[in-house]
């Protein structure tokens, strides 16, 4: 299909069209696009996830024999659930509590990121800040299924993953301001959010860097179960990364290892179609990332990442698989970032029409609409949540503002877990025993 190789706009049109609408389910969003014709099997989304390549798509790709029944199983489950929900709108996919939780989490992500932008332009934070606006459904959809002991590994676009995982907004905002009360004592910054308590394993500046770390966390889970005999250890790891990363060696190497050893990990691709200014289509020979899963022996699933409920369904199945010891899953979430790559990105290359199209699929508005239509919440309740979140974010800013900057004494701490690593000084004592060490002025 020409769309894969050539016209970016055509590609995105077909994406937004039919991304995961199965034929028999009323869509969350009205199908407004004039080019809506036959559903594009190019995307191979929840409709038919047998591993044979979509019939009409790039003819240069050969049909692959169906390898793992699990792929079809995932899609079947999702489709079934959807068709069940078709029966009546009074049988929604979520309960009220769940809906409110999802809504609150997404609004927190959105408000927080908007506040970050404001603070950045006011000179409160510096460097590279990458905002998550528009992608909230992916973070909320997946992370809200996790237990505290499960691990999340992210990239530089990690604020919202941190928030969804439970890191307090105060701690994240302080970290962004570079204050000592930040989750990493101000030493990490925007791109390095870590939390041992919440098992957020970072925050990585180089793309692809976190995927092996996530694989290692999943390896630990398996090790604990099989070597340390902790039979109930079923911790799952989620690795979030983007479309650009899917052309990086570490991605493929880890898909191989995870499938080889059946590690309890879910690889979540946040395909927002752009790697800074590089369109996914211009960078990738086969843009259908979900297809790369079956190549390594794991299911590959494509889901509409602007729809938190669809993401949730897929997440449930994928995380369930990992917990049961059935191995990894590759989930490609079609999503979009409403802002530029970072706050320093002028964002001139993206077609405004494309942006408008995705803006109309704003995950928060969509969930709101769904909740109204299914009588899960009233306008007032959601507004109350909005207000609560606004206050929370304001409080986080206030807290960060008032927090102290790191003292010089913090400079040399945390370089080594065992500070004897700084060695023995000329006087025969360990450098870390030097009183100036705790002042941060010792020679090391």
């Amino acid at each position: 299909m020409a769309a894969t190789a050539f016209s970016a706009s055509k590609f995105t049109q077909s994406f937004s069209l039919n991304s995961t609408r199965s034929v028999d389910r009323p869509p969350l969003f009205p199908a407004s696009h004039p080019l809506k014709t036959t559903p594009s099997s190019f995307l191979g989304s929840t409709r038919k996830l047998s591993l044979s390549s979509p019939s009409s798509s790039t003819s240069r790709h050969r049909r692959r024999p169906c390898r793992s029944p699990a792929v079809v199983a995932v899609s079947e489950v999702v489709k079934e659930k959807k068709s069940k929900s078709n029966v009546s709108l009074s049988n929604p996919l979520i309960t009220k509590e769940e809906g409110l939780e999802l809504y609150e989490d997404m609004v927190l992500g959105r408000s927080f990121e908007d506040m970050c932008a404001q603070m950045y332009y006011r000179g409160k934070m510096f460097g590279f800040v990458h905002l998550y606006n528009g992608q909230e459904a992916v973070s909320t959809g997946f992370i809200k299924f996790l237990k505290q002991e499960d691990c999340v590994v992210s990239t530089y676009r990690d604020h919202v993953h941190a928030l969804s995982k439970g890191v307090p907004a105060r701690a994240v905002m302080s970290e962004l301001f570079g204050k000592t009360t930040g989750c990493c004592r101000g030493q990490g910054g925007s791109m390095h959010m870590f939390s041992k308590e919440h098992n957020l394993l970072g925050g990585f500046a180089f793309i692809g860097e976190g995927i092996p770390v996530a694989t290692g966390a999943a390896f630990t889970s398996k090790y604990r179960r099989e070597v340390l005999k902790e039979a109930d250890c079923d911790h799952v790891t989620l690795a979030f990364f983007g479309d650009g990363t899917c052309n990086n060696g570490q991605f493929f190497e880890c898909l191989n290892m995870a499938a080889l050893w059946k590690l309890p990990i879910v690889f979540v691709v946040e395909n927002n179609l752009w790697a800074i200014g590089m369109s996914h289509l211009r960078a990738t020979s086969d843009p259908q990332i979900w297809k790369k899963g079956p190549a390594f022996g794991m299911p590959g699933v494509h889901v509409d990442g602007m729809d938190v409920l669809k993401v949730r369904e897929v997440a449930k199945e994928a995380i369930g698989r990992a917990r049961r010891g059935e191995g990894p899953t590759l989930v490609e979430c079609e999503t979009y970032r409403f802002r530029g790559h970072s706050l320093a990105d002028p964002d001139e290359l993206r077609d405004p029409a494309e942006k408008a199209r995705y803006a109309s699929r704003d995950p928060i508005s969509a969930l709101k609409k769904y909740m109204f239509e299914n009588n899960l919440a009233s306008e007032a309740e959601l507004k109350a949540i909005d207000k609560k979140i606004d206050e929370l974010v304001e409080d986080a800013v206030e807290f960060a503002d008032e927090s102290p900057l790191p003292a010089r004494s913090q400079l040399l701490e945390n370089v080594f877990a065992d500070p004897r690593g700084f060695g023995i000084g000329p006087d025969g004592r360990y450098r870390c025993e030097d009183p100036k060490f705790t002042e941060g002025t010792a020679q090391v």
Partner: protein
């Protein structure tokens, strides 16, 4: 060791007696190839490296008499000790730590069923299982990263690079994650990983298999680097590295795996940050590590015959430097010669020169001399390869120059 070496230096003429026992027990082609290695003594006599090994074998009793609390050899211990080769000592250390702590695991290429390309992990997979001694696919960057992720979440992995040079592919993970994550996470996650493997120049292995990665890794903040050179310190450093909560890179040398030595039966752990006094002396401080230690000791014999009294220190800890041991030596001898296998530019010797100049300038009677390998990709041809490395004759000449 100090006494023994002095004994050898002052009395022995090179013995040509072949110690067949040593040869056959080692059965290593590496050692046989050592015949190509000649040392020309100042008195005109020639002998092969092989003889040096034989002499060491005949006089194997003890290890370096080191500083501080490092235990003396088995000779003065209560038990007789046992003889083994360096790679077996590494394995012993590894096995003891794996027995001691179930979180210790190994990952690398061919470490499991194959037993390690230099047999350091031989037999461990049968004993501990395939998950604890994990055969990885050929993906250094990713399995090193995997080791780091595992370390962050509670395990204590040992990542083996089949050759240190392969770890260049893991540089991203080693620099960015291994060294930095403890800091960027504000101290929340520790990374008790050991990254080890054989490096250094072997016997005509070609440029890419003859690399000295210690010079590339030394700037990475947050890691420690140690280099082992004897069976005794190999086992001790292996155990120390595993027990350390810091990420440690343990540099082994391809040509030292078959060194035989008697080590104590009792458990011992060495100090990662300390240097080892190999031979106390008065005239000049020679700082070295890994294989060059043996070139230096060879040269030391010649020097002793010529009336010099070199103090030889195996620095062992490449990062950080043990400035106490080194400083005491400099204050005593006032002359420093560094002999290393790294390349001239940006090697460990360069850093050490800077550190000594900075800290002990007043105590130096002469500029520090640093003998390093040539800034040349290691050639395949044996003669060329030899000329890229520092040879004992050069060491002798340098000391003579220094002590004028």
């Amino acid at each position: 060791m100090a006494a023994i070496v002095q004994g050898i230096g002052s009395t022995a003429a090179p013995s040509a007696s072949s110690n067949k026992f040593l040869l056959s027990s080692l059965g290593s082609s590496l050692l046989e190839k050592k015949r190509n290695f000649f040392v020309v003594r100042s008195d005109g006599k020639c002998y092969t490296g092989l003889n040096q090994q034989q002499r060491r074998a005949q006089n194997v009793v003890t290890n370096a008499v080191a500083t501080k609390e490092e235990k003396a050899s088995a000779a003065v211990g209560s038990k007789p000790g046992h003889e083994l080769l360096l790679f077996e000592a590494l394995r012993e250390g590894l096995e003891e730590e794996m027995d001691r702590d179930p979180c210790v695991c190994v990952m690398g290429e061919d470490v499991g069923h194959y037993g390690g390309s230099y047999k350091v992990t031989k037999g461990l997979a049968e004993k501990y299982g395939d998950l604890r001694v994990l055969d990885t696919p050929i993906a250094e960057n990713s399995f090193t990263g995997m080791g780091i992720g595992a370390a962050m979440t509670g395990l204590r992995p040992i990542v083996e690079g089949m050759n240190m040079g392969f770890l260049l592919l893991a540089f991203n993970q080693i620099s960015n994650n291994c060294g930095m994550l403890h800091y960027t996470s504000g101290g929340q996650f520790k990374i008790p990983i050991v990254i080890r493997g054989p490096g250094g120049v072997g016997r005509q292995l070609g440029a890419e298999h003859s690399q000295r990665l210690e010079s590339y890794f030394q700037s990475i903040p947050g890691i420690q680097m140690v280099a082992c050179s004897t069976a005794y310190n190999a086992k001790g450093l292996m155990k120390a590295a595993i027990r350390s909560d810091n990420p440690v890179i343990l540099f082994e040398h391809v040509l030292l795996y078959n060194l035989k030595e008697r080590i104590p039966d009792e458990e011992y752990v060495l100090n990662l940050e300390e240097a080892e006094m190999v031979r106390p002396g008065e005239h000049v401080t020679i700082l070295t590590y890994s294989r060059m230690r043996y070139h230096v000791m060879q040269a030391a014999k010649t020097l002793v015959n010529k009336g010099y009294d070199p103090e030889v220190i195996d620095i062992r800890s490449l990062k950080p430097f043990d400035l106490y041991t080194i400083g005491n030596s400099v204050k005593k001898t006032h002359r420093v010669l560094i002999v290393e296998e790294c390349m001239r530019t940006g090697g460990i010797g360069a850093s050490l020169t800077a550190a000594i100049n900075e800290n002990f300038h007043d105590h130096l009677d002469a500029p520090i001399v640093c003998l390093s390998s040539q800034d040349v990709p290691t050639p395949y041809a044996g003669t060329l390869e030899e000329w890229t490395l520092v040879q004992p004759a050069q060491i002798v000449a340098a000391v003579e120059q220094l002590c004028l």
